[in-house]
């Protein structure tokens, strides 16, 4: 049934759009406090070295230097996001006994100006004893490899095994099997706003306030509590506007811990802003990995078994890498029914900055491998790429034993719509052109509770005042994806009022109910449910009062819409929302009306309460002389349930395609013995706006019963299919097969030559 809404589903400009485009919106980057000091880190030049001594005496003499901290000044222990498994909480504020990657902070200076802080770190003398390092996962696990962390033998940080069905029997039944090996290279996060924090400690009350560019104020509050040995409640984290996170701002990082420690030491506010080089060499990125993939199919294209082996280059710490490892195994099975599946994965510590969840959360690398392999198998079997996908996709209610269950599921209608549209849009391809496909699915927030929170996954509080205005409090994080707008839209729709009636108070741990933050495309479904519940409580009070005043039969339904509460079948019988609110507050002993809401998924398997899904096609032209790939157009059919804000959803899709094209074509992090060779935006190549192909987006709306107003994921899903769809377009055009991402011209030429040689050999 198609539902009609007043606000939901209408393309809506962001509530903070005007402030952002005029420069009025305040990011942490823009903030300063009276008497503020500036912090700067001294970083390790070694990938692996023991720290023998640190002499700060010369730096301390420099005029304007107010405090210097080293590892010895850190009161707390280690921290991490895997608080459920303390051995994986391996992060430290400042290196104490040894450094584990080039760029790891060893000391931090607070000074009256940025220049003085920079001069001061040059005066700190650190004596190191260099140690041999490990830089590749297959080297890291060797018995004689140097250990990154002494307690982790063979540098194994985490392992994952997923299995269902009987894989060996499945392969035995297959008419066709194929094995491919891939190397997936890492990808930088490259947010517009770098990591930065402003900390202010009040020595009287012993309370700390931190403003930070974070994806999760709650995670930061917990990380700071562990690092500083303080109570969570004595730390207030405020997230101002954030210029992008993409997974790189979930962990508590030294910008916050050092700013806090220096503020505690000096009693003055301290601000730390990483420069772009620091951002590249010392903050988290997408995981690099070796992938071995085997698929078994029947002659007709039905998948009977898949086996996947993964070993990842985790870097020096855990971050959310252990979760990404699991999801790399899960999302490559989507959106297919694979009856027999086995996944073995190992995450290694290496002497590099560490890898974590980045947009697509583990899905992006392995979906690239799996979708590339599927097209090769389809070609060998003489089956059309869309047909082979249609033959294997899930239907509503599909369950992967012990792992996940899929309720709303529009993948088949998506492919059918794609089949129809593609014939109209791209009826034929010219020489050296090809169309590639990739199906996709992604979570609407994760069920996993690695952080071990006792709170609901998301909370919201709604207060309705005497004049009908609404104050909406929630810790959910808008990091540029538009969740502030989605929050207000959901609240306004539920109460039947206008967005202009609502004032949003987001992301402040002192005043808002906990939300786990913006990751895994979770805010719309999880926080949306909490807001809808909180607003719904108030709506119920207003409806009950209106019903009593009308003296109507209890069976008659009332609705809250267009700022009125009225009988659904006789709209003329009702009241103004504002009048009812005034009466309700008078009857409430003069207290404003308060509604509270929360959401935690239950009985939804191990992964997510719901899955967005769809199919992507990319048309590309390949220059066979120089190996250049030109993406000419992108066509996407997306099932994201009921769209809350189609304009915001479109922005998310465009951003994902942009980052996915970079992953496929040019974003590369070459590393020489732990040294990143391109730590600047000059040398790290992202796709420019003018090189972006046109994107056509269609939807197949389903209704997701678990989501607010039927909504589910409408954010990250489209990054993972972008690289394989483009690689498959090149494969269709030239027969070139790739065993890695970053398809630079020389790699493309080599693959084309190999494909031509293979073809000649067959003849």
């Amino acid at each position: 049934m198609k539902r009609e809404y007043s606000i939901i589903g209408k393309p809506t400009g962001n509530v903070d759009g005007a402030a952002k485009t005029t420069g009025e919106a305040k990011y942490c980057f823009d903030m300063s406090l009276p008497n503020q000091l500036y912090g700067k880190h001294l970083r390790s030049p070694y990938a692996h070295a023991r720290i023998l001594s640190i002499d700060t005496s010369e730096a301390e003499k420099l005029q304007g230097v107010k405090a210097i901290i080293t590892g010895k000044d850190v009161p707390g222990g280690k921290w991490g996001l895997w608080r459920r498994f303390r051995e994986l909480c391996d992060q430290i504020a400042l290196a104490d006994d040894k450094v584990r990657f080039i760029g790891e902070p060893v000391a931090c200076v607070a000074a009256t100006t940025k220049d003085i802080a920079e001069q001061a770190i040059e005066l700190i003398n650190v004596e190191y004893e260099p140690l041999p390092g490990v830089f590749d996962p297959l080297e890291a696990i060797k018995d004689d490899a140097p250990l990154v962390h002494d307690d982790f033998e063979n540098n194994i940080n985490a392992t994952r095994h997923i299995e269902w069905g009987n894989v060996d029997e499945g392969f035995a039944q297959a008419d066709y099997t194929r094995e491919d090996k891939f190397t997936c290279f890492p990808q930088a996060v490259a947010s517009m706003e770098v990591h930065n924090s402003l900390a202010s400690y009040d020595k009287g009350s012993k309370r700390l306030t931190v403003w930070s560019s974070t994806q999760s104020p709650y995670y930061l509050q917990l990380g700071l509590a562990d690092a500083l040995k303080m109570r969570e409640g004595d730390i207030r984290v405020i997230k101002p506007h954030v210029g992008g996170g993409f997974g790189g701002k979930n962990s508590t990082m030294p910008d916050s811990t050092s700013a806090a420690l220096l503020s505690m030491k000096t009693g003055r506010p301290v601000k730390i802003v990483f420069n772009r080089e620091e951002e590249f060499i010392s903050t988290e990125h997408r995981t690099g990995m070796h992938v071995a993939l085997k698929i078994g199919l029947k002659k007709d294209g039905k998948i009977v078994a898949r086996e996947c082996k993964v070993i990842t280059d985790g870097g020096a710490y855990t971050g959310l890498g252990a979760t990404a490892l699991y999801l790399s195994g899960i999302f490559q099975t989507f959106p297919y029914k694979i009856p027999n599946y086995r996944y073995d994965a190992f995450r290694t510590y290496t002497n590099k900055v560490w890898a974590t969840s980045v947009r697509g959360f583990g899905a992006t690398p392995t979906v690239y491998c799996a979708e590339s392999q599927l097209d090769r198998a389809a070609k060998d079997l003489g089956i059309d790429p869309l047909q082979i996908r249609k033959m294997n996709v899930m239907e509503p209610g599909y369950e992967a034993p012990g792992q996940y269950k899929v309720d709303s599921c529009g993948i088949m209608p998506c492919i059918e719509k794609m089949e129809k549209r593609i014939k109209e849009k791209w009826p034929k391809v010219e020489e050296n052109e090809g169309i590639g496909f990739s199906a996709f699915a992604y979570m609407s927030g994760g069920i996993f509770n690695w952080i071990d929170t006792p709170y609901a996954y998301s909370g919201a509080r709604v207060q309705v005042n005497i004049d009908g205005t609404v104050d909406l409090f929630t810790q959910a994080s808008d990091i540029g994806q538009g969740h502030n707008t989605v929050s207000v839209m959901i609240c306004a729709e539920e109460l039947g009022i206008g967005m202009e009636d609502i004032r949003l108070h987001p992301a402040d741990t002192a005043t808002t109910p906990v939300d786990l933050g913006a990751w895994g495309s979770r805010e719309t479904l999880m926080n949306g449910n909490a807001i809808k519940m909180a607003a719904g409580q108030i709506k119920q009070k207003l409806v009950d009062l209106a019903r009593a005043k009308l003296g109507e039969n209890i069976a008659y339904d009332l609705v809250a819409k267009d700022k009125r509460i009225y009988l659904e079948l006789r709209p003329e019988r009702g009241f103004s929302y504002y009048d009812i609110v005034r009466d309700a507050i008078k009857l409430n002993d003069g207290e404003p009306l308060i509604g509270t809401g929360h959401y935690t998924p239950h009985n939804k398997g191990m992964i997510s309460p719901a899955y967005g899904m769809g199919i992507m096609a990319i048309k590309a032209k390949v220059d066979k002389e120089i190996g250049h790939i030109e993406p000419q157009g992108v066509l996407i059919v997306h099932d994201c349930g009921q769209e809350i804000n189609p304009l915001g959803a479109r922005g998310q899709v465009e951003g994902s395609v942009h980052m996915g094209l970079g992953y496929c074509l040019c974003e590369d992090m070459p590393n020489d013995n732990g040294m990143l060779l391109n730590p600047s935006m000059n040398d790290y190549k992202i796709v420019r706006q003018r090189d972006m192909p046109q994107i056509e987006l269609m939807d197949v709306p389903t209704y997701e019963a678990e989501g607010p107003f039927g909504a589910k994921e409408a954010a990250e899903a489209t990054i993972a299919p972008t690289a394989p769809a483009l690689a498959n377009a090149v494969f269709a055009a030239t027969g070139a097969e790739f065993d890695s991402n970053v398809l630079k011209p020389e790699k493309v030429l080599k693959a084309i030559r190999a494909a031509e040689a293979k073809k000649a050999q067959k003849k």
């Binding site: 297959l138 696990i141 060797k142 018995d143 490899a145 307690d151 982790f152 033998e153 063979n154 194994i156 940080n157 985490a158 392992t159 095994h161 094995e179 090996k181 070796h290 071995a292 085997k294 086996e307 082996k309 993964v310 070993i311 073995d344 994965a345 190992f346």
Partner: protein
């Protein structure tokens, strides 16, 4: 009652030696690694076989050793 097999290092019980091998190579602590050295196996070699070659060569090799080494336990599986 059924015969299950006990991990030589921790209390984990598995129905099959192969499953026990899978458990074993999933452990990251020193105790599990040390026992491997004692029976003359290399964790690195087993993992390398397991992740770089198709099939279950790493698990298979360890399962062969566990057939001799893992204690049998009668388990009430009702």
């Amino acid at each position: 009652m059924a015969t299950w097999y006990k991990c030589p290092v921790c209390r984990k019980l598995s129905r099959e030696h192969h499953d026990l091998a899978r458990h074993y190579l999933g452990q990251t602590n020193k105790e599990h690694k040390d026992w491997l050295k004692k029976v003359g196996l290399s964790y690195a070699e087993l993992i390398t076989m397991q992740v770089t070659e198709f099939g279950n060569k790493g698990y298979d090799a360890l399962a062969e050793v566990l057939k001799k080494e893992a204690q049998e336990v009668e388990v009430d599986v009702k």
